[in-house]
């Protein structure tokens, strides 16, 4: 069993990376690996609640399913949230609560990376 840290660094709808990254994370736990996720850079925007749009998968709903796939540890980069000015938005978002996200500083991110076997970035 490997401990994986999966970094979500892209905004939810700018490219396919956010969707591919989530598929990757959900598949990993199915095969006996332990997964932690970190929302970083533009990736913090994935936590802003998005309304359903016909023809697009609802990313908010899909992220909310992570606990059902045994992804229990979610981290959000504090600096990134400040950069994109979404700290207050995220603090009041159900998704952040549902996923029981932990806010992390730069040094805590380093410690997080050191605790896992592999890091994968999307």
């Amino acid at each position: 069993m490997a401990h994986l840290l999966i970094r979500f660094t892209q905004s939810p709808f700018s490219n396919a990376k956010s969707q591919d990254g989530l598929d990757f994370a959900l598949a990993a736990t199915n095969y006996g690996h332990e997964v932690k996720v970190l929302f970083e850079n533009e990736g913090v925007l994935q936590l802003v609640k998005a309304a359903s749009t016909k023809g697009l998968k609802n990313h908010t709903k899909r992220l909310a399913s992570m606990p059902f796939f045994d992804i229990e540890e979610c981290y959000v980069c504090k600096t990134s949230a400040e950069t994109f000015d979404v700290e207050h938005v995220l603090a009041n978002t159900d998704l952040v609560e549902e996923l029981e996200c932990n806010w992390v500083t730069s040094s805590e991110k380093v410690a997080l990376i050191q605790r896992v076997d592999h890091v994968v970035t999307f």
Partner: protein, 129 residues
């Protein structure tokens, strides 16, 4: 001795990434380490399109992967879900869907994320490009 799993998520056209990936795999093999598999996922599946043509003096990564498979028996796995939605189809899908041409051929083989994660249990290093 290390056992590597190589994850390719960048397209062949993304800067020098393909060049570094190929050099890394070759280096690991030269070093006596094992490369368990190369897994093409997300935009990385574009590496497996057999209809690409070589241009000028640029690196043609497709030939590089084929050489690694031929010379060192490196397993080249392509995520089937990511591939088909980007137009990388095998003979079977082409036939089933009435597409004139298949563009996924050996040594590239179709696999799922499941096969990648199953193989990861045997690898102590995972490197992403």
């Amino acid at each position: 001795m290390a056992e590597y799993s190589i994850l390719i998520t960048s397209s062949p056209f993304q800067g020098d990434t393909a060049l570094r990936a190929l050099a890394f795999v070759q280096g690991a093999i030269d070093n006596g380490d094992i490369v368990n598999n190369v897994f093409f996922y997300s935009d990385g599946v574009h590496h497996c399109n057999s209809l690409m043509l070589k241009t000028g003096d640029e690196l043609f990564a497709y030939d590089g992967w084929k050489a690694l498979a031929a010379d060192h028996n490196v397993k080249l796995m392509v995520c089937i879900t990511a591939a088909v939605k980007r137009g990388i189809v095998s003979e079977m899908e082409a036939k089933e869907n009435g597409i004139a041409q298949a563009n996924l051929t050996a040594p590239f083989e179709q696999a799922g994320l499941g096969e990648f994660f199953a193989a990861l249990h045997n690898c102590n290093r995972l490197v992403q490009f």
